[in-house]
């Protein structure tokens, strides 16, 4: 028998366990003893017993008050002792736990790594979820803010923009809102070129009304916001700029207020600087300008010209429901009063601003958070398993300690301390991973998530990590500790030295392995679905050829240079660039949005009936756009240079034909374009314009040079490396206008990649979690089987000695392991079938119960389990019967 471990402080603990005699009793006895001794001395001097006793008490003084004081000190001492012993016990436990871990470095390493991964991954995802979904928006009382859209129920449009005329009526007729603001901002489109003050620079700009800042409840840190009716034609426009721009471009110069900048060739006076962190409607916005500038630029002031986004602040105490009812009433009134323009837009969509900002990422993030939670659970189960295995191996040691008088509470405390020490080490490692992982996550997902600049590892995230750590510590400490709390002392002590495994322990470990495998299956199924979804997205035929084309985006200055001539000149120069085969332009690239919806009016229909007309998207493209994009011409002809100046011609896509002229030849038919009638000259193939997951919308293409539009995506196809080509194209643009700012240079393939960036991020993260889960599951199965084989070595030896063939032993161990794995897979598949439903909103082209995915997951997990079983099984097969019997 090996020497039992020495437990420092153990004797002291035993002493504490013996209930101390009451302090009062002690003091009484001590004082009585003293008085009796003194009385005896007096008797020896010749006094009578009564006299001796009286003399002793006289000499002593006030016995009662001395007793009282001694008792008081005694109680204080006891309290101090208890505190000391508790602290001492904790220190001892921690020290002991650390020593145990040092003696089992492999176990400690696996446990800390496992937990660190679980806690780190969970914390990283949580920090993103918190920043994006949970932090309140950085506005005053953000819970009262709502976003509003004009809805068009008959065409299934829930979120349409609003015209200034409708907005004015909304504002005048409602009573639910304290304040209402509007803006116009389109990513990559609305912006101004800052010139004349150093290097020309493109500034993303939002065009807002005077209620915009007051509705959000954020005031400038410097200067003031825009005022109502401030901008008068013929006067300088005014601007509020972002804190970032103020610092970057003007070095935080306070004298900037009142200075005049040149934006798009117009003089603009800076009147205010917003506080740092104010970034609405986008973190990219650097300048807020009055939206009267837009109307001035020639947008007709009509009810059906809808371009404003609306934010509003509910009055205190007004419910969302009340506001909805009221706004729908207003919309119905307007529909009655202006049937020509408003008959279809008879409803208003009112959504809390927070939901509007984060709505489309919520599902994906919650799936990720759930998945990472599963990973943490798997890590816990794995470590619990390890702990349990160790606890079983240490049963004898625990039994000895229990026999020595350590109560069950002490033993459980000791084991829990070990778990917590492990959890804290794992948590520290996890926190490192979390900080690092969050940064990595941010770097990879800048474009895919809103509010990312608000993501950080802050107090709440740290609290979460701490919570996760303590939770895991208790969770995986609990099982072994509970078992240790009630070790059946007698049998264990009797068996001491013979190394048997407790049967209950084996069952519990089996259950843990089953749990672990089941959790891994759920995670892998989720990841599998996400990957399949991504694959079906990527296999969607986008309708154009992405390879080999370069995109150069720019926005030509509206002042003087917007002319069609400018764009025509640029296109001509670009075509002359060596290596360029074809170049075309479009307002809206595929996968980046459909452009402007407008009513489709056929010749003979009155403009008044336009409100009832179906809406289609009009796209402005140049001659060679279709060739540059590789979009096939199905019928008719493409635009030619003649369409530039001559009477307008239109082209449509196949979806348009199917929707409006099914089975007919549309070439030669006409569409009303303003006052003119425009013939349809050709039909091209469908292009996924919104995203890969949405079908191609009906489109009407208009020759770009029929319209002066400021934002242009130049698509160039040619020979040579794409980026070299792009550089040459840029030079060609600059040769026409050296002040032209280029907003982006990319390839069509990157545009496609960008459109699937979010599903790709989710699939990649889920995949990573799934691989970790698989590894942890394999480690779990291997660990348990290896342990079992070790424990059963003697039994296996006996079997082999009695003539069992090694193959039978191998089979026995394999069956044992695969039974656990199989049960886990079955349970996991059942669980995944239920849980994968929550993913349906982020899946594309794959059912949440996709049999192929589930089958593949089951096969992969069983395969990995088989490998994990094989190693211990082969070891069992090679057990030497002689050796194991002799050991007996």
């Amino acid at each position: 028998m090996r020497t039992p471990m020495r437990y420092p402080g153990f004797k002291r603990l035993l002493k504490l366990a013996v209930r101390p005699r009451a302090v009062e009793q002690d003091v009484d006895e001590e004082l009585r003893f003293h008085l009796e001794m003194r009385a005896a001395a007096h008797e020896r001097e010749g006094l009578s017993p009564t006299e001796a006793r009286a003399a002793a008490e006289r000499e002593f003084g006030d016995v009662a008050s001395v007793r009282e004081e001694c008792v008081r000190i005694g109680h204080e001492r006891e309290r101090k002792m208890k505190r000391f012993l508790l602290w001492d016990a904790l220190v001892q436990d921690v020290r002991y736990a650390l020593r145990m871990l040092r003696h089992a470095p492999g176990f400690a390493l696996v446990a800390v790594l496992t937990l660190g991964l679980g806690i780190g991954a969970t914390t990283a995802i949580f920090s993103v979820v918190r920043g994006v979904l949970m932090r309140p928006l950085p506005f005053a009382e953000p819970e009262r803010l709502v976003r509003m859209w004009q809805a068009n129920p008959s065409q299934g449009v829930a979120r349409g923009e609003v015209s200034p005329l409708d907005f004015a009526d909304w504002k005048a007729r409602q009573r639910s809102f304290e304040d209402m603001g509007t803006w116009w901002y389109v990513e990559g489109m609305s912006g101004s070129n800052l010139s004349g003050d150093g290097e020309p620079q493109r500034l993303p700009a939002a065009y807002v009304n005077d209620g915009f800042f007051s509705t959000l409840g954020v005031a400038p840190v410097l200067g003031r916001a825009l005022l109502a009716g401030e901008h008068q034609p013929g006067h300088n426009a005014v601007a509020v700029i972002s804190h970032g721009l103020w610092q970057r471009r003007f070095g935080g110069d306070r004298t900037l207020l009142g200075r005049t900048l040149t934006l798009d060739g117009l003089p603009i006076t800076v009147v205010g600087v917003m506080p740092p962190g104010f970034s609405f409607p986008s973190e990219r916005v650097d300048v807020w300008l009055s939206d009267s500038l837009i109307e001035e630029s020639g947008i007709p002031r009509q009810r059906q010209v809808r371009w404003q986004s609306v934010v509003a602040r509910l009055k205190p105490g007004v419910s969302l429901e009340t506001a909805r009812t009221e706004m729908n009433g207003v919309a119905r009134q307007l529909a009655e009063e202006y049937p020509a323009t408003n008959v279809q837009t008879s409803a208003v969509t009112v959504v809390p601003l927070h939901e509007a900002v984060t709505g489309d990422v919520r599902a994906g993030l919650m799936v990720l958070l759930g998945a990472v939670g599963f990973l943490l659970l798997i890590a816990c189960v794995n470590v619990a398993n390890l702990m349990l295995t160790r606890a079983t191996a240490r049963e004898r040691e625990l039994a000895v300690r229990a026999a020595l008088g350590a109560g069950p509470v002490r033993l459980m405390g000791q084991l829990l301390t070990e778990s917590l020490v492990l959890a804290l080490l794992g948590g520290a490692f996890g926190l490192l991973l979390a900080v690092w992982g969050t940064e990595l996550l941010l770097a990879f997902s800048v474009k895919q998530l809103p509010r990312l600049h608000e993501v950080r590892v802050d107090g709440a995230v740290l609290g979460f990590a701490m919570g996760a750590t303590l939770f895991t510590g208790v969770l995986f400490g609990l099982l072994p500790a509970l078992r240790a709390g009630s070790p059946q002392l007698a049998p264990v002590l009797k068996a001491a030295g013979r190394g048997t495994a407790g049967g209950g322990g084996a069952r519990l470990r089996g259950a843990l392995v089953v749990t672990e495998v089941a959790l891994a299956v759920v995670l892998m199924a989720g990841a599998g679905l996400a990957v399949r979804s991504l694959m079906s997205l990527l296999s969607v035929e986008p309708g154009f050829r992405a390879e080999g084309a370069v995109v150069v985006s720019f926005s030509s200055s509206p002042a003087g240079r917007t002319s069609r001539q400018y764009l025509a000149e640029v296109l001509e120069r670009v075509r002359e660039v060596p290596g360029v085969q074809v170049a075309g332009t479009t307002r809206n690239l595929p996968l980046e949005g459909s452009g402007e919806p407008a009513p489709l009016v056929l010749p003979g229909q009155s403009q008044e009936s336009a409100a009832d007309a179906p809406r289609v998207n009009y796209l402005f493209v140049s001659n060679d756009y279709f060739r540059a994009m590789g979009i096939p011409l199905l019928r008719g002809r493409a635009f030619t240079t003649l369409d530039r100046e001559g009477p307008p011609a239109m082209m449509v896509n196949d979806a348009f034909v199917r929707r409006f002229f099914p089975g007919e030849d549309v070439v030669g038919k006409a569409i009303q374009w303003g006052d003119a009638t425009a013939p349809i000259v050709g039909v091209v193939g469908d292009v996924r314009q919104e995203s890969l997951s949405e079908p191609a919308p009906p489109l009407v293409y208009v020759h770009v040079l029929q319209q002066s539009r400021s934002s242009v995506n130049l698509v160039v196809r040619g020979e040579g490396a794409p980026l070299q080509l792009a550089a040459a194209v840029r030079q060609a643009i600059w040769s026409v206008n050296p002040n032209q700012t280029i907003t982006r240079i990319t390839t069509l393939e990157e545009v496609v990649g960008g459109s699937v960036a979010r599903p790709r991020l989710i699939a990649a993260l889920l995949g990573l979690f799934a691989v970790l889960a698989l590894v942890l599951g394999a480690v779990g199965i291997y660990g348990v089987l290896a342990y079992t084989v070790g424990q059963r070595q003697r039994e296996i030896g006996v079997r082999l000695a009695l003539g069992a063939r090694p193959a039978e032993v191998l089979g026995m161990v394999l069956r044992n392991g695969m039974r656990l794995a199989g049960l886990g897979v079955a349970l996991g598949v059942a669980g995944a079938l239920v849980l994968s439903r929550v993913m349906s909103s982020i899946l594309f082209g794959v059912a949440p119960h996709d049999p192929l995915t589930f089958g593949a997951v089951a096969v992969v997990l069983l395969g990995v389990a088989l490998v994990a079983c094989l190693v211990p099984a082969r070891r069992a097969m090679r057990v030497d019967p002689a050796v194991s019997l002799r050991a007996e």
Partner: protein, 110 residues
């Protein structure tokens, strides 16, 4: 005897207790007796103050107590110096000696 014995200063009692115990564990009565005898019957410990002092010293961790049998086979509480108590005694003894020497120098100056 009671009339002309010296009064003990506060703090002196503690040192005397520690010193008494430095020769071995004693119960409270014995501590009082030892101090009386060793001082040549000059010092008399006030018994009412002795026990609170013992308990305070125990609370401070300078003494440890254990129940045992007295010389006449009675149950008695025996006090023993802890290592902290021993160190404390050393320090106090030195301080006391310096104090006595200093006072003496002043008093003996012509």
């Amino acid at each position: 005897m009671a009339g002309d014995s010296l009064e003990l200063m506060q703090g002196t009692l503690d040192v005397l207790i520690l010193k008494s115990l430095s020769w071995g564990p004693l119960h409270g009565y014995a501590v009082a007796e030892v101090v009386r005898e060793r001082s040549g019957e000059e010092l008399k410990v006030e018994e009412g103050a002795l026990y609170p002092a013992l308990h305070r010293l125990e609370k401070r961790g300078l003494l440890e107590a254990e129940w045992g049998l007295s010389e006449n086979n009675r149950r008695a509480k025996f006090y023993r110096l802890t290592s902290a108590g021993r160190a404390h005694l050393r320090a106090e003894t030195q301080a006391w000696q310096r104090y006595v020497a200093a006072v003496s120098r002043v008093l003996e100056a012509a």
